[in-house]
Symmetry: C2
Subunit: 246 residues, 2 copies
């Protein structure tokens, strides 16, 4: 059951996952955070072989391991921030851990939020997201990668898996969510001063869910800053209007 594709506001309308039976067995983990929430197998119910949280990433993991790792990292972790070096707070942490209250973070995991600077707390808290949202983000990002010009086509089983959950592929259709020009898969290889040229972006900042994520040029993402996309477009439109009237 596929929803409408609204290119401007959302990348994908996530299909009703009730229609797709997933295995959902808990995966064994030694992480202390497994106490909060078990990570689940996302293979189809009754699948062969081992359980896998990201079965649809197998192919990308082979052809472009860095991209697969980026999808996982950006989906589930709070992102690296410049304050990591000079502040005492955790930098990358599972997004759903940041849904816990201060007292639980302290008593259960030794994370003292009260000891962090307010803007560090804000940065961490605004990146909080449920496990389920993170999983849908990973899937949506994977589809967006396969739809980039220059990306190798998915094997049939992975194509079917993704299409069953998110609807038909539109290959070569992925554009920067901000500047709307095509995003070449090869751009993942490019970096300036250690910063990747493609970043995961949020149409509305701080809403980490499948409808709100996509990829953007680093330059565009920086320009958007903490504006929503609508605010950003209104802002640049205002600039051009003022410029014309001078």
């Amino acid at each position: 059951m596929e929803g409408p594709v609204l290119r401007n506001q959302v990348l994908y309308h996530i299909a009703d996952t009730e229609q797709v039976k997933l295995c959902r067995k808990s995966l064994y983990s030694r992480s202390k955070y497994a106490l909060i929430e078990s990570r689940l197998c996302h293979s189809h119910k009754g699948h062969d072989g081992r359980c896998d949280e990201f079965p649809y990433l197998k192919h990308i993991h082979k052809v472009a391991p860095k991209v697969a790792k980026k999808i996982v990292r950006d989906s589930v972790m709070t992102t690296g921030a410049s304050w990591a070096s000079d502040e005492a707070g955790p930098n990358r942490i599972l997004r759903w851990v940041m849904l816990l209250e201060d007292k639980d973070l302290k008593s259960k995991f030794g994370i003292n939020m009260a000891g962090l600077k307010p803007h560090v707390v804000a940065k961490l808290r605004e990146k909080a997201a449920t496990y389920s949202d993170c999983m849908e983000v990973a899937l949506a990002l994977t589809k967006a990668v396969y739809e980039m010009p220059g990306c190798p086509r998915p094997p049939a089983d992975i194509q079917k898996y993704i299409e069953t959950r998110l609807g038909k592929f539109k290959f070569d259709s992925t554009v920067c969510t901000i500047c709307r020009s095509p995003l070449e898969f090869q751009l993942f290889d490019k970096a300036r001063r250690g910063k990747a040229e493609i970043e995961t972006s949020h149409t509305t900042p701080r809403q980490h869910n499948a409808k709100n994520v996509g990829f953007a040029h680093r330059r565009c993402n920086i320009a958007q800053g903490d504006m929503s996309l609508d605010e950003f477009y209104a802002w640049i439109s205002g600039i051009l209007t003022r410029l014309k009237s001078e």
Copy 2:
């Protein structure tokens, strides 16, 4: 002799300074860099009182010392960069020192450019400027500050000094060089996470001279990035065009 005021491309056409006789006596300095270039008195020839490199900043220095310091700092120093913390290179250094060749920097001042990472060297070198350009930048920025809405008016002597060198004031006319909306003087007091909301900006990046500098919102400056203003406007115009055609 005042030149044309081209609001879009340049802030001011600097007046022919030959028409304005300045004192230009060398100022005593204990800085090791005084060996390269003497800093000069910029009061009018035959002035009363002590020599002064920035006589036109006296009033702003009184009413808003931080702003006066910012004008001096941004005019003469290479700016602070994020690499300062994790790289071994100098962070703030006089812009004209960066005009020297590697071998002179090493033998005379112990600065080993060859030992720095290439992007650090690039950052330092691209901020190089002559002493004379830095002095004109300081004057142009001072005029732009006085022309901000909300800025106290200059005392008569300073008004005359600046107008003699740069032409008539147009009070309340200073706009962000990038987004073209009025820049309130009060915005100098505002900062987010230690970052001032107003930054010195360069219409064409890396050209540090009076015709190419102005003030901009921090947000706008970040969005412009390493594009020239023309490139930036073309870029945002392209975004809106693509958006409309979707």
